[in-house]
């Protein structure tokens, strides 16, 4: 038996290798693991994305439904607003009614207590929201205390004064007695002093 010695004269890199070089092998392993991990992560993300998109569709549908229901509630609120204003208006209409015949009777009773006073003109004027009662009247004499008492009597009559606010800028014109005096009573022979009052009373 002849023993044979095999000698490979090729440089190391050209020699046939029996196994993958360790560096390349490790690179491939690490590369595959890294790429694989990224791939798995991507697959998970895609799954999660799909789930979230599905949830998104459901939420969109629910948001649309609740939007419609909210719209109905908003419409309801608008209707309530209109109904409330309508109710306020009708209450305002009904409360705006003052029984003037009763007021005039009450006023007549007050006037009866002051025989020196008589009404020349009386008017109720409507003006926007607030009406105004205007009185023009005369009184015998020229004593302003009588006028003050008369005003106090009116203000202190709770029933009559209920709908009124105040005397608005009352004006008093005094007419002295004498041959040219007497005011409107001169033609009846009265020549004494008289007072003429111009009073406005705003209605509350």
């Amino acid at each position: 038996m002849l023993g044979m010695i095999e000698i490979n004269l090729l440089p190391q890199e050209y020699r046939v290798q029996e196994r993958t070089p360790l560096g390349l092998f490790l690179t491939i392993i690490v590369g595959i693991c890294t790429v694989g991990a990224i791939g798995v992560y991507e697959i998970n993300l895609k799954k999660e994305l799909a789930a979230k998109q599905l949830e998104n569709q459901r939420l969109h549908a629910e948001a649309d439904r609740t939007d419609k229901e909210k719209e109905a509630v908003v419409k309801l609120e608008r209707e309530i607003d209109v109904a409330r204003k309508r109710q306020e208006t009708i209450i305002e209409i009904s409360q705006s009614k003052i029984i003037w015949s009763q007021k005039l009777i009450q006023f007549g009773k007050i006037m009866a207590e002051y025989p020196d006073f008589w009404i020349d003109r009386l008017s109720l004027q409507r003006g926007g929201d607030k009406a105004k009662l205007t009185l023009n009247f005369y009184a015998l004499g020229n004593d302003l205390r009588k006028e003050a008492n008369f005003q106090d009597r009116i203000i202190n009559d709770t029933n009559f004064w209920y709908h009124f606010d105040k005397f608005e800028a009352p004006t008093v014109r005094m007419s002295p007695g004498g041959p040219t005096g007497g005011g409107p009573l001169a033609k009846y022979g009265y020549t004494g002093p008289t007072m003429y009052f111009d009073v406005s009373i705003p209605v509350k």
Binding site: E13, P21, G23, L24, T27, I28, V30, G31, I32, T34, V35, I38, G39, Y41, E42, L45, K46, E48, L49, K52, E55, N56, L59, H60, E62, A63, T66, D67, E69, K70, A72, V73, L76, E77, E79, I80, V82, A83, K85, R86, Q87, T89, I90, I91, I93, S94, I99, W100, S101, L104, I105, G108, I119, D120, R121, L122, S123, L124, R126, A131
Partner: protein
């Protein structure tokens, strides 16, 4: 450079390129996911707000029913649209003038105008007014006013003016100065707006 080293470097470069492409896709997917999550969170907030709002619906419906029921009672004080006409108002005024034994002197009608407030926008409450002049004494005037104000359906004296009449009359030797009275009477009718 040895062949092994070169092969290894090529493999590294390939894997890096491949990983780069995959990271690009992962980033893109992550961005999409973040976007969807953000949108979902906004939608959830919106749904929560809507649901909170919707919860009020039963109470609001009850409130509306209550208001409507109240209004049906309130509106009964006003005459119906068919009844509250100028013509009907004239007939009423004439009937009460006859009852108070006074003579109507002059009559005019004012154009109807919308009432302010809830009615004005809808034009739901319409004013119907007549204006007339009478000559009478104070007692007759008050009696006539009282008859008008006690009318079964809503009637309101809007304005009046009482002045001494220019003409005087003599009764049993006494000079009687009648009053010249101008009165405006108003009623309202409810005309529901068309929805």
């Amino acid at each position: 450079m040895s062949k092994d080293l070169r092969n290894t470097l090529i493999a590294v470069a390939l894997f890096i390129a491949l990983a780069g492409v995959m990271i690009y896709f992962v980033t893109d997917t992550q961005d999409q996911l973040d976007g969807v999550q953000k949108e979902n969170s906004e939608l959830e907030d919106k749904i929560k707000q809507n649901n909170d709002y919707i919860k009020k619906a039963p109470a609001l419906q009850r409130q509306l029913n209550e208001l409507n029921a109240n209004f049906r009672d309130y509106v009964k004080i006003l005459p119906s649209a068919e009844v509250a006409t100028e013509q009907r108002l004239l007939r009423t005024v004439q009937a009460y003038a006859d009852a108070a034994q006074i003579q109507l002197q002059e009559l005019s009608q004012r154009d109807a105008a919308g009432k302010k407030g809830g009615g004005s926008k809808m034009g739901e409450f319409q004013e119907v007014s007549v204006n007339f002049r009478i000559d009478c004494d104070f007692d007759s005037f008050v009696r006539f006013l009282n008859l008008l104000e006690r009318h079964e359906q809503f009637m309101k004296v809007n304005s009046f003016s009482v002045n001494p009449s220019a003409n005087t009359r003599i009764v049993d030797g006494k000079e009687i100065i009648d009053l010249g009275v101008q009165i405006e009477v108003t009623t309202y009718k409810y005309i529901p707006s068309k929805k």
